[in-house]
Amino acid sequence: MDVSGRYFDGVRPVAHEVRLRRLAQGIEIALPEGRQQVLWLYPETRIDEIGAEAHLHRVREDLDTGERLIVDGAAFSDVFGPVLKQVGRGRAGEASRRRVLFWSLAAVATLLFLYFAGLAAFARLAAPLVPWRWEVALGRSVEPQVLEIFSKGKPAQTCGAAGGAGKVALEAMVARLVAGGKLPGDVRVDVLDVGVTNAFALPGGRIFLFRPVLEKAEDPDEVAGVLAHEIGHVVHRDSMRALIHNGALSLIVSAVLGDFTGSSTIAILSNMMVRSAYSRENESEADKVSVDLMRAAGADPRAINRFFGRLASGEPGKRTIFDAFSSHPITADRIAEVEKLAGPPAPSTPVLDAAQWRALKAICQEPKPGS
């Protein structure tokens, strides 16, 4: 039984009217005008589709020969239905399963390495190379948004005015701490009139202490310890590290997921990751700087532990997500580590004298300039 169809020989884009015959080993294609007939072995034969028309092509030695057959679908099924199981599958030149497996494993290995070690190392290497001026400019540009988040949408107020007693005391504290360290640039410190117990460093040496830190501290060294810890983040350029880590991660996430799922997913994911970027390691490094700076300033390096200890024991129910210590718990490890770094107790003098300390404590009660 014969089927008529159209045949392209893969050499010229010209259709030949042909008759097909089912043989035991393949499809015999009879060309017109005495040209030699062609035999497609069944394993060489590939079916693109069988609809109203059946479309077939031929693959030899893993190459697409360009030969094509177009046949009436129903007639093709009638004649060749019984041999369809012998027909080959897949396209020419496709990667073998082994190759797919190899590259899958390679890709997964790269991703795991980057996630657990590579990106952090990259961020550590890259952060100090970013010019400080860029970091300052960056800090300035994100400052308003960050403050708005912490003050829950209301414009955030900083305490004290330039030249005021509180500000002078604060600057004195900063100057004593900074004297003992190697900073990439200047730090600027302000007290935020916001009721959460937190302190943070923005890119470019911009540090904010929140009002309750002053209220809950019992002596100037406790505040200085917290401040020195934040200066530690500045020394190590941790916000730059986090930014680089985060940026590289979102680049990779978007490469893996494609643009498909949209930038919102990526934003959410990388936001979750930024916490891991601001890692325990960074915190311990900042603790170490805190101890060093406090000791260099002749103050008590253990004061920060007293402060954290008091926070940990008090009012656990009233914390919000904005409290630093819910997202970065003060672990026993960190307290022990500070204890060890501080070494044997030595005599110390507080960073501020009694009058300065009173002024600093009262910085948020000073009348606001211009109000």
Partner: protein, 410 residues
Amino acid sequence: MHVPTIERTGGAASFPEPARPEGEGLRLEAVPAPLAGHVVKGIVLTIITFGIYRFWYRTGLRRYYWNNTRLAGDRFEYTGTGKELFIGFLIAIAIVIPIYLIVTLVGLVGGAVLGPVLASIIGALIMPAVIQILTYRARRYRLLRTRYRGLRFHQTGTGIGYLMRTLKWIILTGLTLGIIYPYLRRALERYKIEHTWYGSARGSFSAPVKPMMKMWLLMWGLVVLAMIAGAMVSTSLALGSGGGAIGALLLMILMVVLLPVAWQAFRVREFRAFVGGTKIGDVALSSDLKTASVVWVWISYYLMLLVLLVGGFALATYLAVGRVGYFKPEDVQDYVAAGHGQFAIVIAIVLVGVLSAVVTELYLRRRLWALRARSITVYNLASLDQVIQSAAQEAGGVGDAFDSGFDIAG
């Protein structure tokens, strides 16, 4: 080489050039085969597999568009596979991302040594340059996987060559404040077409810029006008003087209506000029694409998106609150802050996302494809008899998989 010019004299649309061979041309057909099921399945699977299915989905879409584009009763064929794209992607992840990080680091070291200006110049140039090269390579991949009547297309030329041409024309265009942009477009299209082959038949290109230039100058004038309007708005904001409202109205009309329409009109003229200037061997082409039909596709598409967004918002509030209506912003804020309705909002976002992707494929891409394909007439198809498949082997191997991994365009 003969240079055909398209000029309409006395309103009679005649094509008397010798480049157009005697005899009627043949129109490309765009077969309206069903697509919706394929799109929905592809998008859902892509989401479920965290994006991995997208390579197979994209391959399926190409197969759809190629197979349903027909010339003289024979269809174009896309022979690429999802697996090829996938393995290219794996290679990109395994090798290219680490290399990219290292290059960035080297750039930063360079910045630390040579100053931030140099580093930022390098940073701003390298990425677009790489993308330009990859775009060209991706076109090579697609052509290699395109067949008509059993014969393969392919592309010679190099990504670097394409990049150099782009750089040269960007500089020239910049120096002329963008006025000669159509020449840039033509130069790039020329490079692509002249390195395109169908079997032994090579592409040649000779499109006139004139038919596009008038629309481009109009577009350029509108941009200047938009800048003036923007300046009016910002000075009136800064100084509190009048003219702000007029400026804002002007700016809005420009941005929302005039500029997009002028841009589409320019692109349509460009399409006609480029298609008309393209020959593959002795096969010549022409296009009578209409601006109005393209603009209408875009308008109806945006209207559908708008309906989807409004519907999605209504759905989200209904799922969250149990009723649809007007809410005060403070109420909504309190409600969301209290942790209600987050799940409903996520559902609504996913639903709107999936539906808008479906609408984009069905009512934008497919309609534009059909309009463009049906606008094209092919002349002298009989000359294909002279074409033979070049002896070059079927392309394969890592280089090709690399191309497919960066198969970024479309």
